[in-house]
């Protein structure tokens, strides 16, 4: 019998994530920049993943789209919000978690989930770039660094206090700290902590998590933020190699149910 594929696509503001899910076993994941056309990013991603896995297009039996660009994907069978998809995907990656912390390129959210990944409650911040991937990018640039260098640089450093959460003001503050001769590592640790504090406040509004949190979205690749979150929340904050694709995984799981 040929393998039936369920496809999940998460079109984020920065990256598009495509996931293939088979009836049993592994998932295949592909991530690429969204660029200016969500539709083209998604289609190119599917082609790339088909090539990589050797499956044919006819094996795709259901497609679910999510993320801010989901409406542009008219070829999808269904669209589901990134909130529902993230819940499903996170529970799949880290069984037993009761909280999802997602920090993407331009927004952040926290979800309370049950062990099937069903969302019980959520909060979203999409009003400003504060504390998102975009925020880290701007700060890294101000420090003359690449985002990928941030985590290592901050390891073991005593964080300096960054008082502003606004991207514009923080940039000025960071430049000021540099001028005062504060070590870059301490500044980066301070930035991580300020993001974590903001997320912890959002978590606090949903009520205390009990078991463990899954950390997803692009910023989950940053171990510095993860360490700060663990300290503030007092529970394990787990990432996964596929953390960034949690939304697309959730979409693929929902697609699979449609087959």
């Amino acid at each position: 019998m040929t393998v039936a594929l369920a496809v999940g696509i998460d079109v984020g503001s920065t990256a598009t994530k495509i996931v293939f899910k088979k009836d049993q076993g592994d998932i295949h994941c592909h991530i690429r920049p969204t660029g200016w056309s969500p539709r083209e990013a998604a289609q190119a991603g599917i082609r790339a993943l088909l090539e990589e896995t050797g499956y044919s297009e006819s094996q795709i039996k259901a497609t679910v789209a999510t993320g801010y660009g989901r409406i542009a994907l008219s070829f999808a069978d269904r669209t589901v919000t990134e909130i529902t998809c993230h819940g499903r995907g996170a529970a799949f990656l880290v069984p037993g978690a009761d909280l999802v912390i997602d920090i993407g390129g331009q927004d952040s959210k926290v979800l309370k989930i049950n062990n099937q990944g069903k969302v019980l409650d959520f909060l979203m911040n999409d009003k400003c770039a504060a504390g998102t991937g975009r925020f880290l990018q701007v700060m890294a640039a101000a420090l003359g660094l690449d985002v990928s260098e941030l985590a290592d640089l901050s390891a073991g450093q005593e964080p300096v206090k960054i008082s502003s959460m606004c991207t514009v003001f923080s940039e000025t503050e960071v430049i000021g700290l540099l001028a005062q001769g504060v070590a870059k590592g301490a500044i980066v640790a301070g930035l991580h902590q300020s993001i974590a504090r903001r997320m912890a406040a959002m978590v606090g509004r949903l009520g205390k998590p009990e078991t463990k949190a899954v950390f997803t979205g692009g910023v989950a690749l940053n171990l510095g933020v993860q360490r700060s979150l663990e300290q503030l929340l007092g529970i394990p904050v787990v990432t996964h190699q596929y953390s960034q694709a949690a939304g697309a995984i959730g979409a693929a799981l929902i697609a699979q149910k449609m087959i």
């Binding site: 919000t81 909130i83 069903k118 969302v119």
Partner: protein, 384 residues
């Protein structure tokens, strides 16, 4: 609802604008109200026409922001903007405006409004409990009566107040009966239609005609329902909307819920169900102004502290309307509703175990897409 059933309601506001101009020219008096704490019975007893002036549209907000801060509740800015730009005919025709010291924003706004129009600002107590609160409310009913007599050039008799009480009791009972039709599952009225009917009705100059129109609509709907008519189906998420007032122009959350496949089966705010089950005993022989004071003090609005009546009402409505989830709408910078949302959330989530969504927004369309994601996700929480 099928178009023709609501046809009578679509243009009440427009039609009454013209009617109002005509009767004004013949000497009729008009009293404008901003809030459900305003005792409309007294205006009716004075033979005046009552009009609702609460601003529900974004258009006049820039005009208001010349005098008012930007980070103020849009309802206050819209209300003031209409007044200061003279773009609301109902305000224009009002001989007297009744304001209330509800929240800080409103009471200070009325100071500015009083420069444009004769305005009486009722002093409201901060709490519904205790003798002093009732005494203040009673004293204010007297003051409102005096002000109306002065500005409208009439004497308000006890007998006329008694008749007005009966008339408004009947109107509220009928409107409640209309809302209650939606206790049926599947429902028979969309949230947009609930809003349209209750909001448009408030502009009808002929008070008796309001109840007649509603009665006809209720009868039509009942007949249709008996033939199997309904909106949505058994599985459509039934949403209760609570929080700050909504009207046509500020209906975006209701519209989004229904665009995303849910149904707002009832509306617990003061433009909806909040004040519909507080009646005055028409046979109570006591001072009519005291009866009014008692009734108006019972309104469960967040400007009162504590405001346990709202929680009781919500709990009852959640059961009676077989609600699947509650959305609490707060206009930006409304502190009383914003803070009370924590308590409402605890009731809905912790005590009743239902999904709860708090939304904070204004009258603009700039956040429609981000609201849509939240509302969509909320409906998915209920359905999946």
């Amino acid at each position: 609802m099928e178009g023709n059933m609501l046809a009578n309601f679509d243009s009440i506001r427009e039609q009454n604008m013209i009617a109002l101009k005509e009767v004004k020219e013949k000497g009729a008096k008009v009293v404008g109200f901003y809030c459900t704490y305003g005792p409309q019975e007294l205006a009716v007893a004075a033979g005046a026409i009552c009009v609702g002036l609460c601003g529900t549209k974004e258009d006049p907000i820039p005009a208001a922001e010349q005098d008012l801060p930007r980070n103020l509740c849009p309802l206050i800015k819209s209300s003031y903007g209409f007044a200061v730009s003279d773009t609301c005919p109902f305000f224009h025709f009002s001989d007297l405006v009744i304001g209330e010291t509800t929240c800080d924003g409103k009471k200070k706004m009325f100071e500015l409004m009083a420069k444009i129009k004769p305005t009486y600002v009722m002093q409201l107590p901060q709490t519904q409990e205790g003798e002093a609160s009732l005494a203040l409310m009673y004293a204010e009913m007297k003051k409102v009566k005096e002000e109306m007599e002065k500005h409208l050039g009439v004497t308000i008799t006890d007998e006329a107040i008694g008749e007005a009480i009966a008339l408004l009791n009947e109107e509220r009972r009928t409107l409640k009966e209309f809302f209650d039709l939606n206790q049926a599952k599947p429902a028979v009225i969309t949230g947009m239609d609930l809003l349209k009917v209750s909001w448009q009705l408030g502009f009808h100059a002929n008070r008796k005609e309001r109840t007649v129109l509603l009665r006809r609509l209720i009868d039509d709907l009942k007949a249709k329902a008996a033939e199997g008519y309904h909106v949505g189906d058994e599985s459509t998420p039934r949403i209760l909307l609570t929080g700050t007032p909504t009207g046509l122009g500020s209906e975006k959350v209701i519209r989004l819920v229904e665009e995303c496949g849910g149904l707002v089966v009832s509306i617990e705010n003061c433009t909806g169900y909040k004040t519909l089950n507080q009646y005055i005993d028409e046979n109570d022989p006591r001072d009519k102004l005291l009866l009014l004071a008692e009734r108006y003090l019972k309104i469960p609005c967040s400007v009162m502290t504590p405001n346990t009546g709202r929680l009781e009402l919500l709990e009852r409505m959640i059961k009676e309307f077989q609600v699947d989830g509650v959305i609490d709408l707060t206009w930006q910078a409304c502190h009383t509703y914003n803070i009370e949302s924590t308590t409402v959330g605890q009731l809905v989530k912790d005590k009743l175990g239902l999904p709860f969504l708090h939304l904070e927004t204004d009258y603009s369309q700039s956040d429609v897409e981000t609201l849509r994601v939240r509302i969509n996700a909320f409906l998915e929480m209920i359905q999946e």
